[in-house]
């Protein structure tokens, strides 16, 4: 039995938001899958709305407030990531992108990520593939094959809801499988750790 952490990033703006609702459903489904495989799971929700001002301040000053630092470390130190954004003007929201702009380009390398999005119409759904997925590919995260989009009709019940349920279940299985087969995360990288000693640096610089 291994203990796992799942960071659940939601960039929804209203409260309550359908983005958070989708994130929670993905999180619970993934947790159940992992528990079924014998792992224990800690969910770490990160609601970007609560950090909105701090995210802009970090972009301007170059350092995070303490609550934002903790949120960033929850994301970079987790075993798996669920990232859900509303789709605005055919792409992720500015808040969602700004948050991930603050994540070090190496910090998510090899990390399984389940992508999710919500939108006012199903015509936005492929923004997951042409906008959200490339960003995580750039970060060398392992973006799972199933990305989950929820449109208004998905929430309105009937057979459509079961279609969303089925997508959530498939995506959760994919994420659980990836997380389960990996060694547990050792936590976020410490940027103040010295990774080379000076003699090495000096030789790299060339000398007589």
């Amino acid at each position: 039995m291994t203990s796992r952490t799942l960071a659940v990033v939601s960039a929804g703006l209203s409260q309550p938001s359908s983005t958070r609702l989708l994130a929670d459903q993905l999180a619970v489904a993934t947790r159940d899958e992992l528990v079924g495989r014998g792992d224990t799971v800690e969910l770490r929700p990160v609601e970007l709305r609560e950090h909105a001002h701090d995210i802009v301040n970090h972009l301007l000053t170059g350092f995070p407030s303490e609550p934002l630092r903790q949120a960033l470390e929850q994301v970079t130190g987790a075993d798996g990531l669920i990232a859900v954004t509303p789709i605005f003007n055919a792409s992720y929201s500015g808040l969602f992108k700004s948050f991930f702009d603050l994540v070090d380009a190496e910090a998510l390398t090899g990390r399984p990520v389940l992508l999710g999005a919500t939108g006012g119409t199903a015509r936005h759904s492929l923004a997951l593939e042409h906008a959200v997925r490339p960003m995580f590919t750039y970060l060398r995260a392992v973006a799972l094959p199933t990305a989950v989009f929820a449109a208004p009709e998905d929430w309105s019940g009937g057979t459509v809801e079961s279609a969303l349920r089925a997508r959530i279940g498939r995506a959760a299985r994919e994420l659980a499988e990836q997380v389960h087969r990996r060694p547990a995360s050792s936590g976020p990288v410490d940027p103040f750790t010295l990774t080379t000693d000076f003699e090495q640096l000096l030789r790299g610089g060339g000398d007589t």
Binding site: T61, T196, T208
Partner: protein
């Protein structure tokens, strides 16, 4: 303990009246601030080096040489000298010349510079920032310590039978600090040579500074220059004071809100809680500054940033009066009473010369490479 001011030399519009000083006015203002620093009893004036607008101090030794001629005691320094884009041969010669003119009242702080486009103006590439800092500084040390240098490296033309002139005053190179905000490699470099480490401190959370200084101290001990608490540490600070703290906040707020670096971002209240910026009464500045010691240990040099963000010269000079008359005398006394006897003060030309003479008399080899010469 040494106290002083450091300036970046920015030309910034005064947000309260829309007035922008000319380059000439700003340069003269920097000189006036340096003279004032000596007058009010501060120990150090350090100028930035920049080659891009809105900054004016592109030629630090020209300015420091002029200030040297008009001061008696003030220690002249830099914050920072660009070890990446300056030719180390020129740094060696310029600052040895300044040492002679200033009778040894000179040290330097090395920095890399973080503006990519500046590097190619001087034939370099920011992607080589760390390797440039390492190679150039190692050469600079040799040029100051060896009369004849044969050298070959990656970043400049080889040297054959080269003698940097003039030789350092009394054959004692200026003390060097290494400034870095978040590169562990630079803390390591300072520790390796037994040089000083200066944490910018002012735009960053205390925890950040604590980690960098702690790394430097550990590595200083690792390389055998003394115990960790004997390492030579400097810190930046940023203050604005009025007798009544509410007046200080009211007067400084428009400068804060529009400042380069952090303007239009966090509120003054957020930034003062997250960083060492202190806006308030002289007593608040004293208390906050004494608190730095809690997370970096006993340290040797405290520099304050006093003259940025468009603050008018008159206001800056008033601030220096308060700093020199009410704040620094108390800090000096308090820090000195807290510091254990085995923690050394910051090296000066006199202390370095005395150490070199002692080493020569005791028959130690002066190979010109180890930091034992510096101590």
């Amino acid at each position: 303990m040494q106290f002083g001011v450091f300036t970046v030399g920015d030309v910034t519009v005064d947000p309260t009246n829309g007035r922008e000083p000319t380059e000439g006015e700003r340069i003269k203002a920097m000189v006036t601030i340096a003279l004032k620093a000596e007058e009010v009893g501060l120990d150090v004036f350090a100028t930035g080096e920049h080659h891009n607008r809105p900054f004016v101090p592109s030629s630090p030794t020209t300015m420091l040489g002029y200030i040297a001629a008009r001061t008696e005691r003030l220690l002249l320094s830099t914050a920072t000298t660009l070890i990446t884009t300056n030719d180390p041969v020129k740094i060696a010669e310029d600052y040895a010349m300044l040492q002679h003119l200033a009778d040894g009242r000179v040290d330097l702080m090395m920095g890399r510079g973080n503006t990519g486009p500046v590097y190619p103006w001087f034939g370099q590439d920011i992607r080589n920032g760390i390797p440039l800092a390492i190679e150039n500084y190692d050469l600079l040390r040799r040029l100051w310590r060896e009369d004849v240098v044969d050298w070959k490296g990656r970043f400049r033309t080889p040297l054959q039978s080269f003698t940097s002139t003039p030789r350092p005053l009394d054959d004692v190179p200026p003390f060097v600090w290494h400034g870095s905000i978040r590169s562990p490699e630079i803390a390591e470099q300072a520790a390796y040579y037994g040089d000083g480490f200066f944490a910018n401190h002012i735009f960053w959370p205390a925890e950040h500074t604590r980690r960098m200084v702690d790394l430097y101290r550990q590595r200083f001990e690792h390389y055998g220059h003394g115990s960790a608490d004997q390492a030579i540490v400097g810190l930046g600070g940023q203050v604005f004071m009025r007798r009544n703290s509410q007046d200080a906040v009211r007067e400084f707020r428009p400068y804060f809100d529009n400042a380069p670096v952090y303007g239009h971002g966090p509120s003054l209240e957020e930034f003062t809680s997250q960083t060492p910026l202190t806006v308030g009464s002289p007593q608040q500045v004293i208390d906050r500054t004494l608190g730095f010691r809690d997370y970096v240990g006993d340290y040797q040099r405290q520099l304050f940033l006093m003259d940025h963000a468009g603050l008018p010269l008159k206001t800056v000079l008033e601030q220096l009066d308060i700093l020199g008359e009410e704040v620094v005398p108390v800090l000096r006394k308090e820090f000195d009473s807290l510091r254990p006897a085995h923690v050394p003060p910051a090296p000066t030309h006199a202390s370095l010369r005395a150490a070199a003479e002692r080493a020569a008399q005791s028959g130690d080899t002066l190979a010109g490479t180890g930091a034992e010469v510096d101590r």
